[in-house]
């Protein structure tokens, strides 16, 4: 491991941990503006997490160890994922250890543990949430894989940093296949991060909720970790999107260490734009019925497979 790799890794992890709640705060703020509400503070997610860490944890009497372990595993999975995704630099020490398929596996692991923990108490809402989360997951996961595969076919590698590097450093090319997959990816991002139109993060309405139903029994530090992990997940997905579709500006092999510093403001700009876009989508679309969600995701899956076919037909 070279010093630049360790430096990039540390920087990425720190930025992810710090910026993830801020990103959520930013999306919330944009949403409030677009909906003509007065916006909550940008720092609200931090205060929420801090408050939760200080509270006493209340754990349901019938909970097993799995329930208490799950927040750490979910949080850990998201942190490791943040370490794999090249958000600022492609010189990452884990490049060869875990490729994009492992990244998808890591996200699946977080989902499985979250669902299992939700089933652990045995409440009606918990199991309902677990079932719906797995339903969203089993359609979103292959779609995400397909999206990644198109990019990895273009760059002949499955290592995400190598894909980014290839896409960022080549002369500007037009890839119709990537256009298809970009649409698919956006749909997956919305579904996986419990956003409208699949889920609504702002409600506890039992008929529609998915993500919140999983967290109902969590409190205090466990809830804080879960909330933080959810913020990290959104951040990670945004960064996967950047890595695949707007890779320019990351510090690549051969660039000076100072390029790493330059990539920080660029990431901030990308995140700000993405947050605004996300808020816009959420504002203009309506929540789907839960049973429309599979159709939504099947469309995403189809788009991704189409992207793959287009790539193989056109070679681009």
């Amino acid at each position: 491991m070279r010093p630049i790799e360790i430096l990039t890794q540390l920087l990425e992890l720190i930025v992810a941990l710090v910026a993830a709640p801020l990103f959520v705060g930013w999306v919330n703020q944009c949403r409030a503006w677009l909906q003509n509400r007065s916006a909550p503070s940008l720092w609200l997610p931090y205060r929420g997490i801090r408050k939760l860490f200080h509270k006493d944890a209340v754990i349901a009497a019938g909970a097993s160890r799995l329930f208490r372990l799950a927040p750490y595993i979910v949080f850990g999975a998201m942190v490791v994922a943040a370490g794999i995704i090249p958000s600022m630099g492609t010189r990452l020490p884990l490049t060869r250890v875990a490729d994009a398929i492992a990244l998808v596996g890591l996200l699946a692991m977080a989902r499985v543990f979250m669902s299992l923990a939700a089933m652990d108490i045995g409440t009606a809402f918990g199991t309902l949430g677990a079932r719906r989360e797995m339903m969203v997951g089993f359609l979103a996961e292959p779609a995400l894989l397909m999206v990644i595969f198109v990019a990895s076919l273009i760059s002949a590698t499955t290592a995400l940093p190598a894909i980014t590097e290839h896409l960022a450093t080549q002369t500007l090319g037009l890839y119709p296949s990537l256009a298809f997959t970009a649409v698919a990816f956006l749909m997956v991002l919305l579904a996986e991060n419990a956003r409208i139109p699949v889920d609504n993060p702002a409600t506890h309405l039992e008929l529609t909720m998915i993500h919140e139903a999983l967290l109902l029994e969590y409190s205090a530090r466990h809830l804080a970790l879960m909330e933080w992990a959810a913020a990290l997940k959104l951040f990670n997905y945004a960064c996967i999107g950047f890595a695949l579709f707007i890779p320019w500006g990351v510090s690549t092999r051969g660039s000076a260490p100072a390029a790493l510093l330059a990539s920080i403001p660029l990431l901030a700009v990308k995140l700000a734009a993405a947050g605004t876009f996300l808020a816009l989508i959420e504002t203009v679309s309506a929540k789907l019925r839960v049973f429309r969600a599979p159709e939504f995701l099947a469309t995403a899956f189809l788009f991704a497979v189409l992207g793959l076919l287009v790539h193989l037909l056109l070679g681009a």
Partner: protein, 668 residues
């Protein structure tokens, strides 16, 4: 070793013979559970370990042959051990060791077959699987294959007093024999006019492409019936729940794999030069089985039936890898063929451990609760922590999550699919992305199935009061589960070494190989030069480090205070175990999304019912559309022939007379 044993083949034969002897010893004191359970089964497990060690050490050894002078005069049994046999013998030994230890604690006083007889059938089953793997002529192969089918039939019908179980056994026997017939015909085609039924003669026979294809399709049909490929899968969801759990584990974990062995042996060894379109057939059938199996698994309410359907899925994935390997082999893409073949073999090995672990886990649950229905289980993680946590490993492995073993083989398979975009046949090129999509979808659905399986059985509140009396598995059962779980973890952490061993098999079997690895020992990089690598070990270390650091940090900076209280559940007060999702409830999204797959019958109450009943039953369309008409047809033909059956001796004498006259007329 004694001077009698010169070679690994001798050692294997000795161990197989020991299995037979152990089985026979069971007849000495057939009702003594202490003798059979505490002595014979652990001894059998030791033989399994020894077999695994011998097989592993002999993987790279040169091919050896032997001739056993048993059986019919002039028809000695030819035996041969090569890398492929060694690999499958290792699988048989290693997986059966865990299952046998588990079985030692599992079989108790009960109805049905006595312990001693069970021990004989069980060990005969093991030995016959070993002989299938070593056979080198069609006679020896078929004798071993039939012994395997029969001994497992008797094991399935252990509780033969139940009609349902006898029916399941009959269905199994029927399809096993339809399959055996096809295999026999395949051998008949492959001897190629030489009328020599040794495998050596078949290797040397020159078949026209047409007859080679016929032989391959017959073999695929015959072995597919044993493996449980759709549409020949119908016996699996019936026979697996009927059998005692260790037997289900053996059948699903090991016996299905002998079918994989058979297809590999016939395609790559006996026929030699597979054509690419055979692979397309195997690939399509495999992919369809994978999807069909996993969708049905998600809808099941019986835990062993769920696992049986999941076996169909995994066999489908193995055959998809195999088909891909044949395609690549057919178009002379050696590296990719090796990669796909290795992925298929790796998944074969993984599935042996994962599925055996889960079947044994269900066995432990069944033992302590007497319940197979998911709707009457729940909350067992509190009463059976050993079983629950060890089963969790199998669950996560089968869900294909890193860093366990299921992920590695899926990773390899996806890599094979991904690098496959330069096949000369455009048609195949179009099919491959769809194949990738199906594999990805099946893997994601497997996670759904596994969450359902583990969550409904072990998590939540107990759905019945009797579950509070459940007890954890016995020591022997725990050792068996632990062995299998360790297998799952180890295979996930040392993929480079496993792939290295599998390369010996692909080299010898199909003359295809991966390039030599340039990566360090802990890094799996199947095709150097392409940037695609994975390391389970480092991955695990990184993830564990992050999780531990998080725990430490939370401890350091904040407090550890915990209060226990009633669940919140959105403020709902009267919480009841019945309010949790049942297995039907958890499968509901799948039933909804994949509705065309199922033949569903719903029974919904009207608003005025005083005792409302909700019921949904799911049937296999293939059973209704294919098997039932077929059964009716057979019945009709049999009825037509029954005209001949007069019940009068005079009529039958007349038949004999007419036959005699006809025969004389033909001969003269």
């Amino acid at each position: 070793m004694t001077p009698l044993i010169h070679s690994p083949l001798d050692a294997c034969l000795t161990l197989l013979a020991l299995w037979v002897l152990i089985g026979l010893a069971g007849l000495l004191r057939p009702t003594s559970l202490i003798f059979v359970g505490r002595t014979l089964f652990p001894l059998g497990a030791l033989c399994g370990v020894a077999l695994a060690v011998v097989a592993l050490l002999s993987l790279g050894a040169p091919t050896e042959r032997a001739v056993l002078i048993v059986g019919l005069p002039d028809l000695p049994m030819h035996l041969r051990r090569d890398a492929l046999s060694s690999f499958f013998l290792f699988l048989l030994g290693a997986a059966s060791a865990g299952i046998s230890v588990f079985a030692a604690g599992y079989f108790r006083k009960g109805h049905g077959t006595s312990a001693g007889l069970l021990c004989l059938q069980y060990h005969l089953f093991l030995a016959s699987m070993g002989f299938v793997l070593l056979a080198d002529d069609a006679y020896a192969f078929m004798v071993a294959w039939e012994t395997m089918a029969l001994s497992s039939y008797f094991l399935v019908t252990t509780q033969h007093s139940l009609g349902e179980i006898r029916r399941a056994g009959f269905l199994y026997l029927l399809i096993a024999h339809v399959g055996a017939l096809a295999i026999l015909l395949a051998f008949g085609v492959m001897q190629g006019g030489s009328w020599q039924f040794t495998f050596d003669a078949m290797r040397g026979a020159h078949l026209t492409p047409f007859w080679a294809a016929v032989a391959f399709l017959l073999a695929l049909f015959g072995f597919g019936a044993k493996a449980g490929l759709v549409p020949l899968h119908v016996w699996l969801p019936e026979a697996h729940p009927a059998a005692p759990s260790p037997v289900s584990a053996l059948m699903s974990g090991v016996m299905l794999k002998t079918a994989v062995y058979g297809v590999l042996r016939v395609t790559f060894d006996l026929l030699g030069a597979p054509q690419w379109w055979w692979g397309v057939v195997a690939l399509s059938v495999g992919l369809f089985s994978a999807l069909y199996g996993v969708v049905f698994a998600a809808a099941q309410t019986d835990m062993k039936r769920l696992l049986a359907w999941s076996s169909i899925e995994n066999v489908g994935i193995i055959f998809a890898g195999l088909g891909l390997a044949i395609v690549f082999h057919g178009v002379r893409m050696s590296g990719l063929a090796a990669l796909a073949l290795i992925a298929a073999l790796y998944h074969t090995l993984n599935h042996a451990f994962m599925k055996s672990l889960l079947f044994c886990g269900t066995g432990a649950v069944l033992h302590s609760t007497g319940e197979r229905n998911l709707g009457r289980l729940g909350g067992l993680i509190h009463r059976m922590p050993w079983v629950a946590w060890l089963t969790l490993i199998g669950t996560l492995a089968l869900a294909g999550l890193p860093p366990l073993n299921g992920f590695v083989s899926e990773w390899l398979l996806l890599q094979a699919f991904l690098f496959a975009h330069q096949v000369p046949q455009t048609f195949v090129n179009m099919l491959l992305p769809l194949g990738t999509a199906v594999v990805a979808l099946a893997a994601a659905l497997a996670a759904y199935v596994m969450v359902k399986f583990f969550g409904v059985i072990f998590l939540g509140q107990p759905r019945e009061a009797t579950l509070l009396l459940a007890h954890d598995a016995s020591v022997l059962e725990r050792i068996g589960l632990l062995w299998l779980a360790l297998g799952c973890v180890t295979l996930g952490l040392i993929p480079t070494q496993v792939v290295g061993a599998l390369r010996i098999v692909t080299r010898q079997l199909a003359r295809v190989d991966l390039p030599d690895p340039t990566a360090p020992w802990w890094l799996l990089e199947p095709l150097p030069g392409r940037l695609a690598s994975y390391s389970g070990l480092v991955f695990l270390l990184a993830a564990t480090a992050v999780v531990l650091l998080t725990i430490l940090a939370v401890r350091l900076f904040y407090h550890q205070r915990v209060r226990h209280d009633a669940p919140w559940d959105c403020g709902f007060v009267r919480l009841d175990p019945r309010m949790q999702d049942t297995a039907e409830g958890f499968g509901q999204p799948i039933r909804h999304i994949f509705e065309p797959f199922f033949a569903m019958q719903r029974e919904l109450p009207s608003p005025f019912d005083s005792t409302p009943r909700y019921r949904v039953s799911i049937a296999d369309r293939i059973w209704q559309r294919l098997y039932q008409p077929l059964g009716t047809l057979v019945q009709r033909v049999a009825d037509a022939f029954s005209v001949l059956q007069r019940g009068r001796i005079a009529t039958y004498l007349l038949y004999s007379f007419v036959t005699l006259v006809l025969l004389l007329a033909v001969v003269l």
